[in-house]
């Protein structure tokens, strides 16, 4: 039988740096979870991405046990990484700050497929390209489906 879920906690935590302070402490501690154990596990599983903010969804069960899923960084953050930018454009319509290739868009789309509401890589790529443009990042070249 599936275990009874008592809470879903959505956090973004720096890789390798979970600690028992707020919000991890209050969010999990109040549910009776052993916070120290969560931190040890999270840090061991994310030690290859130190300092990178990672979305994590923690499921707490009625018996005080827990498990969690670590997601890859959001699309907008992956676009910044791909272009070496620190931020998007302050005026995305007028001022373009960088450009990405369709190959880069495809790589991000494939990585984020599970989190995007997309059934095909093509529709996921369109979403990623849309986010890029809204951030002031142009997508260079011709879309593969127009070739």
């Amino acid at each position: 039988m599936a275990k009874e879920v008592s809470a879903l906690v959505k956090l973004q935590v720096k890789g390798g740096a979970a600690n028992p302070s707020p919000p991890v402490g209050p969010a999990l501690g109040a549910k009776g979870v052993n916070i120290m154990e969560f931190c040890k596990q999270f840090n061991a599983r994310t030690q290859d991405k130190p300092g990178k903010v990672l979305p994590v969804v923690i499921t707490v069960y009625a018996d005080k046990s827990f498990d969690f899923i670590i997601k890859t960084p959001p699309v907008a953050i992956q676009l910044l990484e791909a272009t070496g930018q620190k931020s998007g454009s302050a005026e995305p319509n007028r001022k373009k700050v960088a450009s990405v290739s369709w190959e880069q868009v495809e790589a991000i789309a494939k990585d984020k497929m599970p989190d995007l509401n997309a059934f095909t890589v093509e529709s996921a790529m369109k979403m990623v390209a849309g986010t890029a443009r809204s951030m002031g990042i142009t997508v260079s070249g011709t879309a593969p489906w127009n070739n």
């Binding site: 973004q12 600690n19 009776g32 120290m36 840090n43 130190p50 907008a76 302050a90």
Partner: protein, 280 residues
């Protein structure tokens, strides 16, 4: 340490702005974020908060986005109290009984350890602590000098004393853990443990230890092994834990070899590993 909670409300046409703002805040000392219905909350140790830097970062976003926030102070407290108030005692290797002050004593066990964790790591429940303690119970500690790095509650240092260690240096960078080690040493009437608050720099270099214990994590161990080598001598035993078999063990083994430690054994429990090395 007190924390500040900044409850952000974001009004933007595109939802990705929340991710960008979180990323920017992570660059100025905010360490954790929680999603809420209207935006998110960001958390930072109070001494690290710099309102000017925050204003500067937020000014970099398009003016069409409305960003507002409210600051709450969260006083330090023991967030792990609920779990700590009703955890079960644990028996390791049939001879070591670890309990909290509120559990019934069982002096019939050869080694009985009392731990009040108070938000420090190390109650024996975690697989890595269990594995380290199992190794310790099979090792000769009589009259040995011991270094316990990342001591947490001090549980390994306390067991080392109960096993006959002559002098134990227990170090943790977290003041909460340092205090916890002092308190638990007293609870267990330990006289041979000296606790220090600090990182690898706190290791007293004038000593060489017979046994070194470190249950931390892969990256910190890789960073500290060189320092352990400075306080080791031929035959020093090094027990490491806090990592997984794949890919961590191989990486740690290779790195340790560079400093003259040879892997002689490792044990696994639910993917977690503890490994035993000997200094050449």
């Amino acid at each position: 340490m007190n924390y500040l909670e900044l409850v952000f409300t974001i009004r933007a046409a595109e939802s990705f702005y929340q991710d960008l703002i979180i990323d920017a805040l992570a660059g100025i000392g905010f360490d954790t974020f929680q999603e809420t219905d209207t935006g998110f909350s960001a958390y930072i140790p109070q001494p690290d908060f710099n309102p000017e830097k925050l204003a500067e970062v937020l000014a970099g976003f398009p003016s069409a986005i409305t960003i507002s926030y409210q600051v709450n102070q969260i006083a330090q407290q023991n967030w792990n109290e609920v779990w700590e108030s009703n955890f079960e005692p644990i028996i390791i290797g049939n001879i070591c009984y670890v309990r909290a002050t509120f559990h019934t004593p069982h002096p019939e066990y050869p080694y009985e350890i009392v731990i009040d964790p108070k938000m420090a790591f190390g109650t024996g429940h975690h697989q890595t602590t269990t594995l380290m303690m199992r190794y310790m119970l099979k090792t000769d500690f009589k009259d040995k000098t011991v270094l316990d790095m990342g001591c947490g509650t001090g549980i390994l240092a306390i067991l080392a004393e109960k096993l006959g260690a002559r002098q134990i240096t227990a170090i943790d960078y977290d003041p909460v853990c340092y205090e916890s080690t002092l308190e638990n040493s007293t609870l267990n009437s330990c006289a041979n443990i000296s606790a220090l608050c600090g990182s690898k720099e706190a290791i007293p270099l004038q000593t060489s230890f017979d046994i070194i214990l470190a249950n931390i994590n892969r990256n910190i161990l890789l960073d500290q092994i060189e320092q352990y080598a400075r306080v080791s001598k031929p035959g020093t035993l090094l027990f490491l834990s806090g990592f997984y078999e794949k890919p961590d063990l191989e990486i740690i083994k290779d790195h340790s070899e560079r400093y003259g430690y040879i892997l002689s054994d490792f044990q696994q429990l639910n993917n977690w590993v503890a490994a035993k090395f000997t200094k050449l």
